[in-house]
Symmetry: C2
Subunit: 330 residues, 2 copies
């Protein structure tokens, strides 16, 4: 039997050879990495340029991922395939034509909003959520056409439900947990998760402490029991991992994520004035080498081998295979 | 015997369904099209967006070309493969990382300069030519690495000779004629053409009247006899067609080509105050339907079938096949 896939649905680390090495040690075949929070198109291109330098410098560790088949290449050659995504539609600016351009450049996920209102949809920190905008409806159709996956991880309830409904292809919530497990603003309602998975969409479970029950003190058992419950409620084929690992980032980066250029004041997002930076990770998940531990936790809560293989990567593999290619004819 | 390839090494028409239809009527399997004269990176991306709309609207006529194999797909399905190129390095701005980005977006040729000094090289209208610049040497190496072909059609003598010498892969002069046939500033010296073709580079013959002996009154026989002489001097395998067809363009476009944003005064380039616009085409080549006539002209001057097949497309096919892919490892 071949090794199952191991795929992470979201990371935004302070990339380094050390982390690429840890990906190999953790047997991680593919990672969806964030390359934009508030960046304009040109600024996002600079992020791809930086990745191109990593690819050129460490060809034995990492490779650019464009299709699911690239994951097989990475797996066969002991590397990790890197798939690009945006946490905000800022890189497409006000220009629908940039959606295909971004896909050509390798983008495979785009959130319709980060925490705030965007041109396309509403973020989960806004007081009001008027739903998907006029441009948003056009953008979703274009994203569907070219194979750029709609991600609603940071979006508000109504916008998320509308995106699930409007999109002709399954969408993703790459990194969040159920609200019924931990009622954070960023975690998703049962209604959203049923609608998402009912349409073939994927939920990636986050280990970012603000998304965890008991925060940094969350136990592996609690996290894995929540996953098992999600498998029962939403189907074991529609869930995966999306750690939201922000390894080695300085706190200035979480400020950029939260405040961008939209405010002159600090916004603490999921943090607070007395806890403004990145929170400490739970002791059972610190970096890419801890996927073994996560898998062990899933076994301990009684999930079977097939379910675990799906959660650890098989489900993302299938989702990537079906949703990263353009609809024909194109 | 399969139909030989028919490939045009440069066009910059005012694109329309009519022209795409004429490409089909002329049996043209591939065209290298200009998408930048003075455009910044972002402006060049807008040109690709416009092409993406053409590809979406006319999938039965045209398709994006990335590799030589795409020409076979186009040929087999009665379409024309469109390959992108820049007549100036303006889209890479001051950023070597944009070279790979532009290649990913589909660019396959880039002139190191248009008529003026660029960051990389000197144009043929400058009084002095100090040769390839510091950035230029770095850029050529990066272009060689990713598979973006160096084109010196508008560059000055010394810069062109240095580019041929510095480049580790063959370069192209996609659209020009020999200076010994018609001594225009844009036409190339025998020394340049010997150096170019001696290193496996390609010359594409232009039918733009300012590059022709007797201008708009140039005869097909004179043009084809010049090609036959070039085959004898430089090898029949190192030459092709690069019409420089600027069909249906208003004269404002030739102004943009010549003046860009670099001058507040008119510059007439190869024209003059009493002939400021696009010159009338020679009567035997007006649009893509006239390749048959060109081929007939080559037969009349005594070239054999194999040589003619090479000039009409086979040579460009081989050149595209060898030079559009990245050097491994990448």
């Amino acid at each position: 039997m071949p090794t199952p896939y191991r795929i992470d649905g979201l990371q935004y680390a302070n990339w380094s050879p050390k982390i690429f090495e840890e990906m190999a040690q953790g047997g991680v075949h593919a990672v969806h990495v964030t390359i934009a929070y508030h960046e304009t198109f040109r600024e996002m291109v600079l992020q791809i340029e930086a990745w191109n330098r990593w690819f050129e410098r460490f060809p034995e560790r990492i490779m650019m991922g464009r299709t699911a088949a690239d994951i097989d290449t990475a797996k066969a050659t002991g590397r990790t395939a890197i798939f690009f995504g945006f946490q905000n539609p800022s890189p497409i600016e006000d220009d629908i034509g940039l959606i295909e351009i971004c896909h050509t450049l390798g983008a495979r996920f785009m959130q319709l909003s980060y925490n705030n209102q965007s041109f396309l949809a509403t973020g989960c920190y806004e007081a009001e959520d008027p739903g998907i905008t006029r441009f948003g409806k056009q953008a979703v159709a274009e994203m569907n056409r070219v194979g750029l996956v709609v991600d609603m991880s940071h979006s508000a309830e109504r916008s998320t439900l509308e995106a699930i409904d409007i999109s002709s292809r399954p969408i993703a919530i790459t990194h969040a947990n159920p609200h019924w497990w931990h009622p954070a603003l960023r975690n998703k309602s049962d209604e959203v998760l049923r609608a998402l998975t009912g349409r073939g969409g994927m939920l990636g479970f986050s280990v970012y402490p603000h998304h965890l029950k008991d925060g940094s003190n969350c136990t592996r058992e609690s996290f894995c029991a929540m996953i098992a419950e999600c498998a029962a409620r939403y189907g074991a084929a529609n869930i995966g991992i999306g750690t939201d690992l922000c390894q080695d980032q300085p706190d200035t980066v979480v400020e950029w994520m939260r405040v961008g250029r939209w405010s002159k004041q600090l916004d603490y997002g999921e943090g607070s004035a007395d806890n403004p930076g990145f929170p400490p990770m739970p002791q059972w998940f610190n970096d890419n080498r801890d996927f073994d531990s996560l898998e062990e936790g899933l076994r301990e809560v009684g999930m079977n081998a097939e379910e675990i293989a799906g959660v650890m990567g098989g489900n993302w593999y299938r989702f990537f295979e079906q949703n990263f290619v353009a609809l024909s004819p194109s």
